[in-house]
């Protein structure tokens, strides 16, 4: 085989038709706020844990809808509630985080 100097890796394309959303639907049932995120990033911007660890509630919520396993990021959460305070859509982000941890663990 010709050596191209790089390897073909598993595609990084998200194949949305193959993504399992059962657990995400369960999440929406338990915390309906999960459905109304507009991805503005306020939660991440105000997050004291994000400053130390790069955690982002917005990314986790998006990732779960795209079939990526990103919920480990939430481990760093201090549950301080700032994200809940700033969310313009009034999402109960603390409950969202705890519910994600329950469902995806």
């Amino acid at each position: 085989m010709t050596d191209f100097g790089f390897k073909l890796s598993k595609s990084s394309t998200i194949d949305l038709s193959r993504v399992e959303l059962d657990r995400f639907e369960e999440l929406c049932r338990q915390e309906p706020g999960a459905k109304v995120c507009i991805g503005c990033g306020s939660c991440t911007a105000s997050c004291p844990a994000g400053r130390l660890s790069g955690m982002s509630v917005r990314k986790v919520l998006l990732g779960l809808q795209r079939g990526q396993k990103v919920n480990d990021m939430l481990q760093c959460c201090m549950l301080c509630g700032k994200c809940t305070m700033v969310c313009p859509r009034g999402i109960n982000t603390r409950n969202l985080i705890l519910t994600i941890c329950r469902i995806y663990d």
């Binding site: 004291p48 480990d72 481990q75 760093c76 201090m78 969310c87 985080i97 705890l98």
Partner: protein
């Protein structure tokens, strides 16, 4: 006074004896289990406390005052107080006087311990002694209490209670048998005294006693013995540590289901939350309904109002935190490598604003301005963001993780060299007071600090503003840390002050509390509006509070200005002498004033 029969026994006493044996056995087993479940250190402390004379005296006094006379309930609601104390104290007196009666008039029967209960059956002509008259008097008092209880059951509004619990089957059986005991005793006694020795009322009386005692350990009436045990545990300073075990179990069992907490709960501004009051929590814990216990625990805002009105001292928030802690989540922040960036502040004040204060910058700014006016040297620990104080993790039941955060902050604060930690957020303040160990550093709330600055003349007051403020007691500062008067004194010096109908220990949570995990934004609005209405009822022009969460929550819906205490004080004070001169003249506030504040 003569005995009617040669035989000192009659079969109708059997139900009573059986009931008595049953209830004593079950309660003893329960007590032993509870003591056994306590952590060994606490168990020792508790058992030793039962032998100490001063604590024994205190226990007896508290049991009489709390469990028999229901003094706390009297203070809250006289009708309820009379109802409960007439039954409890009256019954106790009947038992006591009954024994004295036997001791005086047929001392050889004192060991037959059902004699005092069925005295008039066995003894003839005992009705004209002083003791007997007293006994009758107490029986009438009890009958009056029971009449009130019956009225209350069906018209609770007459007692000023808008809502009350719906009893379960066992509780209903207990209730009806309790109601039946005393009228039956009355009928039986009257019959016997008039020479009519029909057995029916005596059987009925004995059976009613038996039913009540058999139901007692499995109904809310367990609160009668449990409350006495709780008093002794409280006096031994035992704290809640394990869910459903030890003192937590005794607290749950002590709940008399009186329902005072239902009307008190701020969440009940929204009828959807009616079944989430502490009385339902204790009920579901007893029933081992884990699903409902979880729901009730997660929803609560932990404002602590139920505890402040509770007659027996059930600590609703603590029980809930424990229930939360029993659940597993994959949250375990690793803070081992995190070092909060704390400025060197040797010999200075270190100010901790907290996470929330970054969203309400006026608070920090006002505090900074007051500090500058006073010329005190300070450093702002988390101006660019810091570590959370740990209280949110703690209230969410993540006790171990909260501990980690506390340790990281603690190290950093100790290393800074500051002599005073100034705190503005009551959530953080409570955590610092309750969980941090900071030897050599005094933790002080800015209200205490500012009043000291004013009193020592370090800052000067302007002419009093003619705005009238109503002060809202934040849950964590008032019920949480017991600070009610200092903020009021501060406002009174700077402006007018009015009081809301419900204030201090009965202050209504703003609805923004971090304590609740599951209550979402949309469902908090009603709570906030109800809390605001209470403040509007004071007639004040503006609202003052001392918590960034209350501030943000109220200003969302309030029709009048909402200000933090710090902002009001900043607006109403001026610097006394300029800072450069202060340093030259050695007018050293840190040495003099702060030593005082620290103590």
């Amino acid at each position: 006074m003569t005995e009617r029969f040669n035989d000192s026994f009659h079969p109708f006493v059997i139900p009573f004896l059986a009931g008595m044996a049953f209830v004593i056995t079950v309660c003893l087993i329960k007590a032993v289990v509870v003591v056994f479940q306590m952590e060994s250190g606490e168990r020792r402390r508790y058992l030793l406390s039962l032998l100490k004379p001063n604590i024994i005296v205190k226990n007896i006094y508290d049991i009489i005052v709390d469990c028999l006379l229901h003094v706390r309930l009297w203070k809250r609601n006289r009708m309820l107080g009379f109802m409960h104390s007439s039954i409890a104290f009256g019954w106790f007196m009947i038992i006591l006087l009954g024994h004295i009666q036997v001791l005086l008039y047929c001392p050889d029967r004192i060991s037959t311990f059902y004699y005092p209960i069925f005295f008039d059956w066995f003894i003839e002509g005992g009705q004209h002694t002083l003791i007997s008259i007293l006994l009758d008097l107490f029986l009438y008092v009890i009958l009056a209490g029971i009449a009130l209880a019956i009225v209350k059951r069906f018209y609770s509004r007459l007692f000023g209670m808008r809502r009350t619990t719906r009893p379960t089957l066992l509780n209903v059986i207990g209730l009806y048998s309790l109601w039946a005991i005393f009228p039956l005793r009355f009928i039986a006694e009257q019959c016997a005294r008039s020479g009519n020795l029909t057995l029916a009322p005596w059987w009925a009386y004995s059976i009613a006693l038996c039913v009540f005692m058999c139901v007692l350990p499995f109904s809310r009436y367990l609160h009668i013995p449990a409350e006495m045990m709780l008093v002794t545990m409280r006096n031994a300073h035992i704290t809640i540590s394990r869910p459903g075990k030890g003192i937590a179990r005794v607290q749950t069992d002590s709940c008399p289901n009186c329902g005072v907490c239902i009307d008190a709960c701020p969440m009940n501004a929204d009828p959807a939350n009616l079944k989430d009051s502490t009385v339902y929590l204790t009920r579901q814990i007893r029933r081992h309904n884990d699903r409902r216990v979880g729901q009730i625990s997660d929803k609560c805002m932990l404002c602590g109002k139920c505890t402040s009105v509770c007659q027996v001292g059930v600590d609703g928030p603590k029980l809930r935190i424990l229930a939360r802690a029993a659940r597993k989540y994959n949250i375990g922040p690793d803070f081992s490598n995190v070092r909060p960036d704390v400025p060197k502040s040797s010999g200075k004040i270190l100010y901790f604003g907290g996470c929330m204060s970054q969203l309400t910058p006026l608070i920090g700014r006002s505090i900074e301005s007051v500090l500058k006016k006073s010329g005190v040297e300070y450093k702002w620990m988390d101006r660019d963001g810091g570590l959370c104080c740990g209280r949110p993790l703690h209230t969410a039941g993540r006790l171990k993780e909260a501990r980690e955060l506390v340790l990281r902050n603690q190290e950093a604060i100790l290393a800074s060299g500051a002599h005073t930690l100034l705190v503005s957020c009551p959530i953080c303040y409570r955590e610092f007071k309750e969980r941090y160990v900071l030897p050599g550093i005094s933790v002080i709330h800015y209200a205490d600090f500012m009043i000291e600055l004013i009193q020592s003349g370090s800052i000067g007051l302007k002419e009093k503003s003619d705005i009238c403020y109503v002060y809202h007691d934040p849950c964590e500062l008032g019920r949480g840390c017991g600070m009610y008067e200092t903020p009021r004194r501060l406002i009174a010096q700077a402006a007018g002050i009015a009081e809301a109908p419900k204030n201090r220990t009965e202050s209504v949570c703003c609805g923004g509390s971090l304590g609740s995990l599951s209550l979402d934004f949309a469902h908090r609005e009603k709570i906030t509006r109800a809390s605001l209405q209470n403040l509007y009822d004071s007639g004040a022009d503006a609202i003052a509070t001392a918590c960034p969460l209350c501030q943000a929550t109220f200003s969302r819906y309030s029709d009048r200005p909402v200000k933090d205490l710090a902002q009001i004080i900043d607006e109403q004070t001026v610097a006394v002498i300029d800072n450069s001169r202060r340093r030259e003249t050695g007018c050293d506030i840190e040495g003099a004033t702060l030593a005082k504040i620290g103590n």
